[in-house]
């Protein structure tokens, strides 16, 4: 029977249910986790012997650039990224190519091979939502959703300036529905708008050109809106001044802004059984901490500023963050933060793409290579790991590479090895520039994450943080039957032999999606149906009508017609709206 499976005797890690490596069975029926299977079900069920193996919920990536206009720009401008990294088609799978920016098919397969089953696209510019959905629809193997870029939106900046909270709320809910997106992404608030005039903002209280709103106004208002509307995930923040020495301070101060905002996610969903509270309580999600935590005042005295941020995160309860690790090697930097990418262009002289997304946002793309011999890159490597190891409670951190900015997501197994093995880190210190040790404190850090903590930072916590733990990131009864089984025997695991950790996480022994084995030891064996999640937020109809009058009036500034603006559901693979109830 498809979607029904019994996984026997694996060592299970399900942090949301406080299951830490217990040997037990997991049963899945019709794609959902169940307590047991009846005799009739057991007759022709597929049984997997997971004895001596690690069993975790399917991996969840809460921040990755995998679909949409700037990802595709990355593909188009980097033929050299493709010609040595390709995969032939098989009777089941498409061909594909690309190392840091793989084609949609290859991207889906590679995530699945590592045991991932859910990935959220980190930035969807509203005008590019159709393009993003077309690519997400064609990305096989993984359930997806996307965050809508709203941090420099003309309508919102105007409403914030005028203090028209009701219209701003109506606008956000209409935009989420119109573009079939899941939550709010805020990139360099107020700064990207200034970039349209060749400038940036340098301080939280600096008002931007024409709209005269400050980054602080935008962060505060968006965080409040987010909770007023009951959106499942917290405000997803890429802070100002990213990538500049000394930026850690503005990042920490940005995190202070929504301190008093109380999380009120309010979605009509059935929650899987979990022992721990699977709902988020954070009002802000700081993404790619490493890029936001540069210390020093110039590239000469550049150093890690991670501690300044992790100290704040350790002492507060309203912040969750992901790391943005740098695993060395090829990367493609791509972000909605146009000015940050321009600075990298000036630094490197590489080919560079910049886009102004009309009344909404911007973006930049540039190829990049992180070298062990480079002092700054070596410190960045250390900083990414510091961002995870210095956060005492693993429920406050998430592992990412901000793929492909720090490096492609296919390097996750290496990051896991560095987190689990001090020897792995020390061996890398020996190979890289001495700044890594001199300008960060990582060398003195002896913490080694357990498999349970790895399960937290790679599935349980990303799912919980973005409000998806009602069905993802756990193996509680009622959750999606998404499971990753790794060839790692926790009893025999020797972390000094970190190559074995890399091998174990590189190719899952089995990746199971909705109760169906979809990949085995790096080979795709089935291409399952996929879901696309978005937030359907109910707001007052009259308010929406008044807001739409404004939008239609200002649509003369767009290069497309109002009727062509929305993304219809047919652009989505299995559109899965999540009913969200706004505060009345």
């Amino acid at each position: 029977m498809p979607g029904t499976i019994a996984i026997r005797n694996g060592y299970v890690y399900d942090p949301l249910n406080e299951i830490n490596g217990e040997s037990m069975d997991i049963f899945i029926k019709d794609g959902k986790v169940v307590t047991e299977l009846s005799g009739a079900d057991m007759k022709d069920v597929k049984e997997i012997d997971a004895k001596g193996k690690t069993v975790m919920p399917g991996g969840v990536d809460s921040h990755s650039h995998v679909a949409g206009a700037k990802v595709n720009t990355g593909r188009m401008m980097r033929p050299e990224d493709h010609y040595k990294h390709y995969q032939k088609r098989t009777p089941l799978t498409h061909s594909g190519c690309g190392y840091t920016v793989p084609s949609v098919y290859l991207g889906g397969y590679e995530y699945s091979k590592m045991g991932y089953t859910t990935v959220f696209e980190a930035a969807v510019p509203p005008m590019e939502a159709r393009h993003t959905h077309e690519e997400m629809r064609s990305t096989p193997m993984i359930d997806m959703g996307g965050y809508l870029v709203l941090g420099n939106n003309w309508f919102l900046m105007r409403y914030f300036k005028e203090g028209d909270i009701e219209k701003a709320a109506a606008y956000i809910s209409w935009m989420m529905r119109t573009h079939k997106t899941y939550g709010i992404k805020c990139v360099n608030p107020a700064g990207v708008e200034n970039w349209g005039w060749g400038e940036n903002v340098g301080a939280l209280d600096q008002a931007n050109i024409h709209f005269e709103v400050t980054p602080e106004d935008i962060i505060k208002s968006l965080a409040e809106m987010n909770e007023k509307l009951g959106i499942p995930m917290p405000l997803h923040l890429h802070a100002n001044n990213l990538g500049h020495p000394g930026c850690w301070e503005i990042t920490r101060d940005s995190l202070k802004i929504p301190k008093k905002v109380k999380a009120k996610p309010n979605a009509d969903v059935e929650w899987a059984e979990t022992k721990k509270n699977a709902k988020r309580h954070e009002s802000v999600y700081l993404t790619h901490c490493q890029f936001n935590a540069f210390g020093g005042t110039s590239w000469r005295d550049f150093e890690s500023g991670v501690k300044g941020i992790t100290d704040y995160v350790n002492s507060s309860d309203h912040v969750i963050m992901d790391s943005g690790c740098v695993p060395f090697g090829d990367a493609t930097v791509m972000t909605g933060d146009g000015p940050a990418i321009h600075d990298l262009y000036v630094l490197t002289g590489h080919k560079w793409s910049n886009t102004d997304v009309e009344c909404e946002c911007g973006s930049g793309v540039l190829p990049f290579e992180y070298l062990k011999s480079n002092p700054v890159h070596s410190v960045q490597w250390a900083m990414g790991l510091e961002s995870l190891l210095y956060v005492k409670d693993a429920w406050k951190s998430i592992m990412t590479t901000d793929s492909p900015n720090g490096g492609p997501f296919t390097k996750y197994p290496e990051i896991i090895a560095w987190l689990m093995s001090n020897k792995a880190r020390q061996d890398t210190f020996d190979e890289c520039h001495k700044w890594a040790g001199d300008r960060s404190d990582l060398a003195a850090e002896t913490r080694e994450m357990s498999l349970n903590e790895i399960a937290m930072v790679t599935r349980a916590n990303p799912a919980r943080a973005i409000g998806m733990a009602y069905r993802k990131g756990t193996l509680g009864v009622g959750a999606d039957g998404d499971v990753a089984i790794y060839n790692i025997d926790p009893g025999k695991l020797e972390v000094n032999d970190y190559e074995s950790i890399v091998r174990g996480f590189e190719n899952a022994a089995y990746t199971i999606k909705a109760g169906e084995v979809v990949s085995r030891m790096g080979e795709i064996v089935a291409v399952p149906e996929k879901n696309t999640f978005y937030s359907d937020i109910a707001v007052d109809a009259d308010e929406e009508k008044r807001m739409l009058d404004d939008v239609k009036k200002w649509f003369k500034y767009y290069t497309l017609g109002f009727n062509n603006y929305p993304t219809p559901e047919k652009y989505l693979a299995n559109p899965t709206p999540i009913q969200v109830n706004a505060e009345k």
Binding site: M77, R78, P79, E80, D81, Y83, V346, G349, H350, K351
Partner: protein, 269 residues
């Protein structure tokens, strides 16, 4: 030394991808095994014997193996690609990508070679006795990492992008080149005995370029630093008087590139 002789027999209406034809790959193979090697032609793979008659067999190792192509194969691509040792002699003209990515051994093309010869070469030697086209010893499209080692000698002409992105190795061209010779190089040596058209050394940040002939349009962003006579780089001699330039100052990464231009042929500079 064992010789494998390949005689082209036809069927080249579509170009053929022959990356399996290297001493590394043919070493240890019998005539029959070589005949059965598969080559892509368009969307289909065909045995090598559809295109070549084979005599001889591979030696015990790549070093011991010489591949001789008896005839013109302008529509057969990638001969000697990524080879690390041994010898390939093409007694006629070669198709695109001959010796691309090679890291050792020797290739001799007695006729002309098409574009991309010695692309991203790492070592070894490639000698083209005729002329070649674009992207000789250059990086792949979009890439800035070109040739890193080895030597390419062309008796005739090359066209555009000679040695693009080069960081090591040597290219010596007896004839002329056209545009973008030595673009974005940061190391290595390019010697052109004949003329270059324009944009020589554009965006170079290191390495050396010698132009023995006339440059039609000189690249802005270079500064003259002196005059030198009778240059010698290892065993490559460039007699005569040369104006020495440093650059390219047109880009933010201030260049340490060196360019020598023949005094006699460039009086206006």
């Amino acid at each position: 030394m064992a010789e494998v002789i390949l005689k082209p027999t036809g069927n080249f209406n579509l170009t053929v991808e022959a990356e399996v034809v290297t001493p590394d790959n043919l070493a240890g193979k019998s005539t029959k095994e070589i005949e059965e090697l598969l080559l892509w032609q368009g969307p289909t793979e065909y045995p090598l014997s559809d295109f070549f008659s084979v005599s001889g067999s591979g030696g015990s190792s790549a070093e011991d193996t010489t591949v001789i192509v008896e005839g013109d194969i302008p529509r057969v691509k990638r001969i000697g690609q990524e080879m690390s040792a041994g010898k390939v002699i093409i007694k006629g003209s070669a198709g695109m990508h001959v010796g691309s990515g090679m890291s050792g051994g020797e290739i001799i093309v007695e006729g002309d070679a098409d574009s991309w010869a010695g692309m991203e070469m790492k070592g070894g030697s490639l000698h083209i006795k005729g002329s070649t086209k674009d992207h000789l010893g250059c990086s792949y499209r979009g890439s800035w990492r070109g040739m890193t080692g080895g030597r390419i000698v062309v008796n005739g002409d090359a066209v555009n992008q000679v040695g693009g992105g080069m960081s090591g190795g040597e290219i010596v061209i007896g004839g002329n080149v056209e545009n973008f010779c030595g673009i974005r190089i940061n190391g290595g040596l390019i010697v052109i005995k004949g003329n270059a058209f324009r944009t020589v050394g554009a965006e170079m940040t290191g390495g050396t370029i010698v132009i023995g002939g006339c440059i039609e349009w000189f690249t802005p962003g270079f500064e003259m630093t002196g005059v030198e006579t009778d240059l010698k780089f290892n065993n490559i001699e460039c007699p005569g008087e040369y104006k020495k330039f440093a650059g390219d100052y047109a880009i933010p990464q201030k260049g340490k590139g060196v360019m020598y231009i023949s005094c006699e042929r460039n009086e206006c500079l």
